[in-house]
């Protein structure tokens, strides 16, 4: 079983988001970066599948060298080697093209990633990669079992759950409870230092979008407090003031 896990390097969920350079760049000062939480689930499941079925787990990241601590963490969690495509991601299409190029040169049975990155929240990279490689893609996958060349997976659909089986190779966007996040142990951290991390240059491609400036939402007005003993006043306000009921 050869598994590729694509990870993003994103600001921690609790990070305060601000911008610099006339609102054209994310202000990274004081922001803690992490492996995308959904990608972390994908990685954990990949490591479990490798332990069960044998094979290898390769981690792939499209981005700058500042992601290397997160890539090393993924190696410490149990991936065998890593590839970093040395490029500033332009958009989902760009990232997917780079992933598809790397994947096209190695025959992976499974390509896993999070259902979406928590910075741009697009949730389209798995679909793009699947189409670029001409193989099926499914998301969000909450359960994944492999038997031979067949994957059985449960995924969320609107208001429910669908279980399906499909033949490998597949591209899957993952979310909990596919697995539990893994915390690297000391041995993992030590061995991660010497595991191979290959840096490759991006393939040239046409860019379909150009990023413009960023903005922050208008600050929220003060919360209107209603005394508990006049709770019914809330319903009145929701009807007459907010006009939502």
């Amino acid at each position: 079983m050869k598994i590729l896990v694509c990870i993003t390097n994103v600001p921690d969920t609790t990070a305060k988001i601000t911008f610099t350079d006339n609102n054209t760049k994310l202000n990274k000062a004081g922001v803690q970066f992490i492996i995308g939480p959904y990608d972390d689930y994908a990685l954990a499941r990949a490591v479990e599948l490798k332990e069960k079925l044998g094979g290898s787990v390769t981690v792939l990241h499209v981005g700058g060298a500042d992601a290397e601590p997160q890539i090393r963490k993924a190696l410490a969690i149990g991936a065998d080697d890593a590839i970093r495509v040395n490029a500033e991601p332009v958009d989902s299409y760009f990232v997917a093209s780079q992933i598809a190029y790397v994947a096209g040169q190695n025959n992976y049975d499974l390509i896993l990633m999070g259902r979406e990155s928590i910075d741009f929240n697009s949730g389209v990279v798995h679909g793009l990669v699947g189409e670029m490689l001409g193989i099926p893609s499914y998301s969000p996958v909450m359960k994944l079992e492999i038997e031979g060349t067949t994957a059985t997976l449960a995924r969320e659909i609107d208001g429910g759950k669908e279980t399906l089986s499909a033949t490998l190779p597949l591209v899957l966007g993952c979310q909990e409870p596919i697995s539990e996040w893994k915390i690297p142990n000391m041995r993992g951290i030590m061995t991660a230092r010497t595991k191979p991390l290959l840096v490759v240059e991006p393939v040239a491609m046409e860019e379909f979008t150009a990023p413009g400036n960023y903005s922050l939402p208008a600050p929220k007005g003060a919360c209107k407090m209603i005394p508990a003993d006049q709770a019914e006043m809330l319903i009145k306000l929701l009807r007459t003031e907010a006009k939502v009921i």
Partner: protein
């Protein structure tokens, strides 16, 4: 050259979020001097399809093959690409959802089309074509110019205020080529809570957290939801503890919702939960702790015991009727 809008069908009807996408697409069509065409797949009621006209569509392409009734992003994307070619469409609109993103993504790769997901406003068209999108789970926005000839926009709920007319769209049968390779997956089972109102479609959501103290205490919350015609949700700890089913979990790693009204009962408002609800128009927070961080994100707040407050609210709603 029409603007093409892909709609999702649920039980024969067009989903509400998709109708919003139709209204958005019709407005973009007006801006670009063309018409709006809807693409509907699988079994659907003719009346429901005609009704997309009320939101501005002039024509519906309906591929009624029953193979397309069960949601299948691989086949849907292929059919969408065929419709784009037939209509020579340059702008494609979908409503943001797991399915919408999946179909948009695969269609984007087929058509070599620039794709932006999470669009929150109408595009600005002035020689360039620029859209505004939500990023960092609602914590910021970004403007993006789409440069490709064909453009795909996946729009968020509440991106455009839909107004209804009494117009009807004409339905045209559409017979795409279906590829066997898109139907290879074997559907083992589908579990759908069909009676419940879907969280992503709901206008009002009443949601409970650990402050509800146990699954046996949910009735007052369900009563309020019932009176309001609301869907019910919960925080992550509640679904982790199995007090409520996993598909009710709202937050960063659960479902992200954007109702007109979100009522949080006994939820302190961890940032992971806020990430799932900050698309809501109005937020009401009921919590016994006046220091609960959720009050900072709320429009209306009540400090007090949820079990005393909920029945009062339910009664007040019933009194309105």
């Amino acid at each position: 050259m029409s603007v093409l809008i892909f709609v999702e069908i649920d039980n024969g009807s067009v989903k509400k979020t998709s109708l919003e996408a139709v209204a958005y697409g019709a407005e973009v069509a007006k801006m670009t001097g063309t018409t709006a065409t809807v693409l509907a797949l699988g079994k659907a009621d003719a009346a429901a399809l005609e009704q997309t006209g009320a939101f501005g569509a002039s024509k519906v392409l309906h591929a009624s093959d029953d193979k397309l009734t069960h949601e299948n992003s691989l086949a849907y994307a292929d059919v969408l690409a065929q419709a784009v070619t037939q209509e020579d469409s340059k702008i494609i609109i979908l409503a943001k959802s797991g399915l919408g993103d999946a179909v948009a993504a695969r269609a984007s790769a087929k058509l070599k089309a620039g794709i932006v997901s999470g669009v929150t406003e109408l595009p600005v068209i002035n020689g360039n074509f620029t859209v505004k999108r939500s990023i960092f789970t609602g914590k910021a926005f970004s403007n993006v110019e789409i440069k490709s000839d064909i453009k795909i926009l996946v729009v968020q709920k509440n991106a455009f205020e839909a107004t209804e007319s009494s117009e009807k769209a004409t339905i045209e049968a559409f017979s795409p080529v279906l590829r066997d390779q898109d139907f290879q997956a074997n559907i083992v089972s589908v579990e759908k809570a069909s009676s419940e109102l879907s969280l992503t479609e709901a206008n009002i959501i009443v949601s409970g957290g650990r402050g509800m103290k146990g699954p046996e205490n949910w009735q007052p919350l369900l009563d309020l939801a019932g009176a309001l015609g609301a869907a019910t949700g919960c925080s992550k700890p509640v679904s982790d503890l199995d007090w409520r089913p996993h598909h009710e979990h709202i937050g960063q790693t659960g479902i992200k919702v954007a109702p007109n009204l979100y009522i949080a009962c006994g939820i302190s408002g961890a940032i992971q939960h806020l990430a799932g609800v900050n698309g809501s128009k109005y937020i009401v927070v009921i919590n016994k702790d006046p220091e609960a961080p959720f009050f900072k994100a709320a429009d209306y707040g009540i400090v007090g015991d949820v079990f005393e407050i909920l029945p009062k609210l339910t009664k007040a709603v019933e009194d309105l009727k």
